[in-house]
Amino acid sequence: MRIVALVLKRLAWLAPTLAGLVAIVFFISRVIPADPVALLAGETASRAQIELLRQKLGLDQPLIVQLAQYYKQLLSGDLGTSLFTTRPVWEDLSARLPATIELTVAAMLVSVVLGIPLGVVAALNRNNFVDHLLRVVTVAGLAVASFWLALLLQLLFAMDLRWLPLQARITGFPPPAITGFYVVDALIEGNFTRLGNVLAHLTLPALTLAFPALATVVRFTRAGVLETLQRSFVTYQRAMGIPAGLIVWKYVLRNSLVSTVTQIGLLFGILLAGAVVIETVFQWPGIGAYAFEAILQSDYPGVMGFTVYAGFVFGVVNLIVDVGHAVLDPREAAA
C-alpha cells in the first residue's frame, strides 16, 4: 500500500524532527540560563529544595548525559510538573487540548467555507470593484493583530450590543464529557439549549482566529482559479457551450483547489499559533491560555512543556494533513 509507505516515511521524518526540537528546548531551558534548577524550581523554592531538584535531575552530570535523560523522561510521557497547578504538565495540556482543537477546527471551517467561494468570486471579477474590495479585506486580514481584533469584536458584540457572550467556553455546566469537544458532546447528549450556548461562545473566538486564515484561502483560491481559467480544457468546454457557472464552480474549482488544499497544513500552523493569543483574550481554556498562565506565573516547566507539546501536536497534525492529501490526490503519494 502506497499510503502505508507514505505514513511510514513521514513518521520516519517526524521522529528526528521532534528529537531535534526537544534538543533545542533542552538547550533553551538547561544551557542558556545561569541556574536552570532555580528556574525549574520556581521563585519560592528554598535552597534545600533547589539542591534536591539538582540531584534529582542529574544536573551535575555532563550535558550529553542530561540530554539523554531528558529524552528518556519525555518518552515516558513526563513533561515535568507545573509549579502553578502542581500537576504533570502532560496531563494539564492533554485535558485542555480538545478545547484548542475545537476552536482551531471551527476557525478552519469558517475560513474554508467562506474563503473558497470568495476567492472564486474575486477571480471572476478580476480587477473590478468586487476584486479590489476583497483584496482590501485580505490585506487587512493579514495585517491586523488578532488580539486587537478580538478586543474590538468583544467591545462591539459582547459589551455593547450584548449579542454574544464575552468569554469562556460555556455558561453553566458543560455537557457530559465524552469526546471533550463541547459541540460534539452537546449533540450526543441531544441538549440543544446547551448546544446553542456552546456555539454562541465559540462564535467570536473562531471568527477572530479565522480572519487571517480566511485571507490566505481567498488569495490562494483566486490565484488557482485564475491559473486554471487559462487552461485549454476551459476553452474547450466554453466552445462546447457548457454553461459558464457549471464550468467555473465544478470543473475549474476542482482543478484549482489542489494548491489550496496543500495550504491547509500551513493554515493549521497559522491557526495554532494564533490560538495561543486568542485563547488568552477569550479565556478559552485551551493549551494556549495555559501557556499564557504559565508565563504569568513564571511556571517554567509549564512553558517548556507547552513548547514540546505544541511541537508534537503540530507534527502529528501535519502528518494527518499530508496523509489526507495523499488520499485525495494519489499523485502526491507517488512524489
Partner: protein, 286 residues
Amino acid sequence: MKTARDVLAKLLRDPAAALGLVIIIALVLAALLAPVLATHPEAVWDMNPRQRLLPPSETYLFGTDRMGADIYSRTLFGARITLVIAIVAVGAALVIGVPIGLVSGWRRNWFGEALMRVSDIFLAVPQIVLAIAIAQTLGPSIENIILALSVTYWPWFTRLVHAEVRALKNETFIEAAIALGVPTWRIILTHVLPNVMSPIIVRTSIGMGFTILTASALGFLGLSAPPPAPEWGRMISESREFLPEAWWYALAPGLAIFLVVMGFNLLGDGLRDVLDPRIRRAAGGR
C-alpha cells in the same frame, strides 16, 4: 538586476505599493521625530493620576491611559521600539539565514543536508511557540525579544535561498564559471548572490511585517519590554482591564500595528511584482 531607480519608479506606479512605501516612511519619521510630534512628550513615562483614563479630546487625541499618559504620544514613542525590534531581528535573521542557505544550496552533500534538517526543525513549530520559550527563559526585555525573533526567523531565509541556489546551480553561466576555474567563493559572491537578491528583498519586506505582528503578540503576552515602555502589544493588553468604559485605550496602538504591518505587506507584494515576476502574487503569507 534592475537599478534602484527603475524599481522605485515602477513601485510608485502601483498604488498599493506606493501606499505601503508612504506608510513605512511615515513610521520611520514617527520614530525619529517622536519627541517633536508628540503632544505630551513629558507624559510618556510619568504618572499623572489626575489625567487618568480621559476620553479622546483636543488635548489628548487618543485619550489617556491608566497612568494618565497621553496615548497618542506613547504610540509615537512605541514606533521606536517596534522599528528597532523589526530591523535588528530581521537583519540578524538575514545574516544567519542567507549564508547558511547559500552554503547548503551550493554544497549538495551531507553537510548541506544537515543544515537544512536543522532549519526544518525550527520550521516544525509555529514561530511564536519557540519565541515564547526563549523569551521566557531570558526574561522580558527588548534585547531578548530581538534574540528570540531572530533565532526563530532565520530558517525562512535559509529555505528560500537554498531553493534558489539549487535551481541556479544548473544554469549555464554558473557551469561556465565553474569550468573556467573561478574560485567558488567568487562565484557565490559575484554570480549567485546578485541573482537571489530579489526574492530575499521581497521576503525581507514581508518578514518585517510578520515580525512586527509576532513581536506585538509577545508584548501582549507580557514577554516584551517591561512597563512603562510604550510597547504597542503591552498597551493593548493593559487596556483589557478598563473595557468597555475606556474604549479608546487600545485604539491607537492597534491601528498603528495594523497600518505598519499592512505597509510592509503591500510593499512586499509590490516588490514581488516588480522584481520577481515568476512568483505569483498570491503566494506566501508569511
